[in-house]
């Protein structure tokens, strides 16, 4: 069932390419603005500034990406899904799909940042692992919130308001590990933080899985 739903998500996404290309353009413009702002003074981008710019860009792109997973759905389509699938499968398929999409965007963002700005990282392997874990966390926590926001008025503002406090515990850990990657510290230093991140991801994913059936019912 999950596979069918996943396939449906991909088919829908590929059918209207404007959405995914719009998100790509959003990411590119943000990175390009960062590049233009610092264009002549590249040496002023200290590693910490790089990390802040990078994660702000990723955060906003990801919130916009995931917000569309429920807010963009046409009215009435959810009644159809309700009749053919159970809610657990739907939230799992949405989380997995959003995870893959977020992963794609974070890696694209990373490549953009190292080409346009510079590459301050001393440990790229660990950073790649961090991007995977971070995307997982964003997808797990934001998908449910998108479902909540979709039911309320002024969904888009609400999405941002609801997600910041929740995402911030993931961001705090991610930023800390980014700094370790930039400084090229030994990997054993970051092991604990990576495990915490994984634990937070599991916690958030499990609560999403348990709670989704309640927002689904209408």
């Amino acid at each position: 069932m999950i596979l069918t739903l996943l396939k449906k998500e991909f088919t829908l996404e590929l059918r209207r390419k404007s959405v995914i290309s719009g998100l790509g353009l959003y990411l590119f413009s943000t990175a390009f603005i960062c590049y233009l702002t610092f264009s002549l003074k590249q040496n002023q981008i200290t590693p910490l500034v790089w990390s802040a710019l990078f994660w702000i860009t990723i955060l906003f792109t990801v919130i916009n990406t995931i917000a569309k997973s429920f807010i963009g759905e046409k009215q009435g389509r959810d009644i159809y899904y309700y009749s053919i699938a159970n809610p657990e499968m739907i939230i799992l398929s949405k989380i997995i799909y959003n995870f893959l999409l977020t992963l794609l965007l974070t890696f694209a963002g990373f490549i953009l940042f190292i080409t346009l700005l510079k590459n301050p990282l001393a440990d790229t392997g660990l950073f790649a692992a961090l991007l995977v874990l971070g995307s997982m966390g964003f997808a797990a926590s934001l998908t449910l919130l998108s479902g909540i926001a979709a039911k309320a008025n002024n969904s888009h503002i609400l999405m941002a308001v609801l997600s910041f406090p929740i995402v911030i515990s993931i961001l705090l850990v991610v930023i800390k590990v980014t700094k370790n990657c930039i400084d090229g510290l030994d990997r054993s230093v970051s092991t604990n933080d990576m495990l915490t991140l994984l634990a937070i991801n599991c916690l958030v994913a499990a609560t999403s899985y348990l709670l989704f059936p309640y927002i689904w019912r209408n």
């Binding site: 039911k151 309320a152 609400l158 915490t196 709670l211 309640y214």
Partner: protein, 222 residues
């Protein structure tokens, strides 16, 4: 709330204020008299956590078996918890001003506390933007549980993993290291009970006010 509990609350808090300000405390460098914040700041924080827990429990109960009463309980406990949390932050800032040298020091504990208050402010924004009453109750219950789960790493785990200057975390001793003759415990435990009871009392009063409001609206409609 039972009358004897209310009387106990008043007695406990009177005792906390009198004893907390007058009793002997250990003389320590830097901390000095500010150690008395232990009787006010820390119990308020405990009270906040307790009230948020109660609010989440009502949210879970609401989802299992919906009724307006549980929704009102959940909201008002969150409301009162938010108030205690703000008091906790402000008393903490007063303390930080005298020991750390500035009210806001960007300590992980302080940031975590501020963010956890943001979570509950977002909860009220969410409630404000849904018109359908039943849907509002259900969605905000879901967000309440979700926010509570996301808040646990924020105020209990992450501050303990990073370097923090807050007593009791980041390798700093909590109060039990200073409190060699257990004198402070004689005020601290009653203070914890007193502040938590006060929070519950305020919450129950607010719940009753809400009930009266609902009744009035019903009467007007008839």
């Amino acid at each position: 709330m039972k009358t004897w509990l209310k009387i106990t609350t008043v007695i406990l808090l009177t005792y906390t204020i009198v004893a907390g300000l007058l009793f002997d405390v250990p003389r320590l460098n830097i901390v000095n008299e500010t150690i008395r914040a232990l009787y006010f700041h820390v119990p308020m924080w405990f009270g906040m956590v307790v009230l948020f827990c109660v609010s989440t429990v009502y949210a879970v109960q609401y989802l299992r078996n919906p009724s307006i009463q549980k929704d009102i309980n959940s909201v008002e406990f969150a409301n009162t918890g938010l108030m205690l949390g703000m008091l906790g932050i402000f008393t903490g800032m007063v303390w930080a001003n005298y020991t750390w040298g500035s009210p806001w020091h960007g300590d992980p504990k302080q940031n975590g506390a501020a963010i956890s208050l943001l979570v509950y402010l977002a909860y009220f924004v969410l409630r404000g933007s849904i018109e359908n009453e039943e849907q509002r109750a259900r969605l905000s219950a879901v967000y309440n549980i979700f926010a509570f789960a996301a808040m646990i790493p924020l105020i209990f785990i992450i501050p303990r993993m990073t370097s923090s200057m807050h007593p009791g975390s980041g390798g700093n001793p909590g109060f039990n290291m200073y409190d060699l003759d257990s004198k402070m415990r004689m005020v601290f435990y009653p203070a914890v009970a007193g502040w938590i009871l006060l929070g519950i009392w305020i919450a129950t009063l607010r719940i009753r006010v809400r009930k009266i409001d609902e009744k009035l609206i019903e009467l007007e409609n008839e």
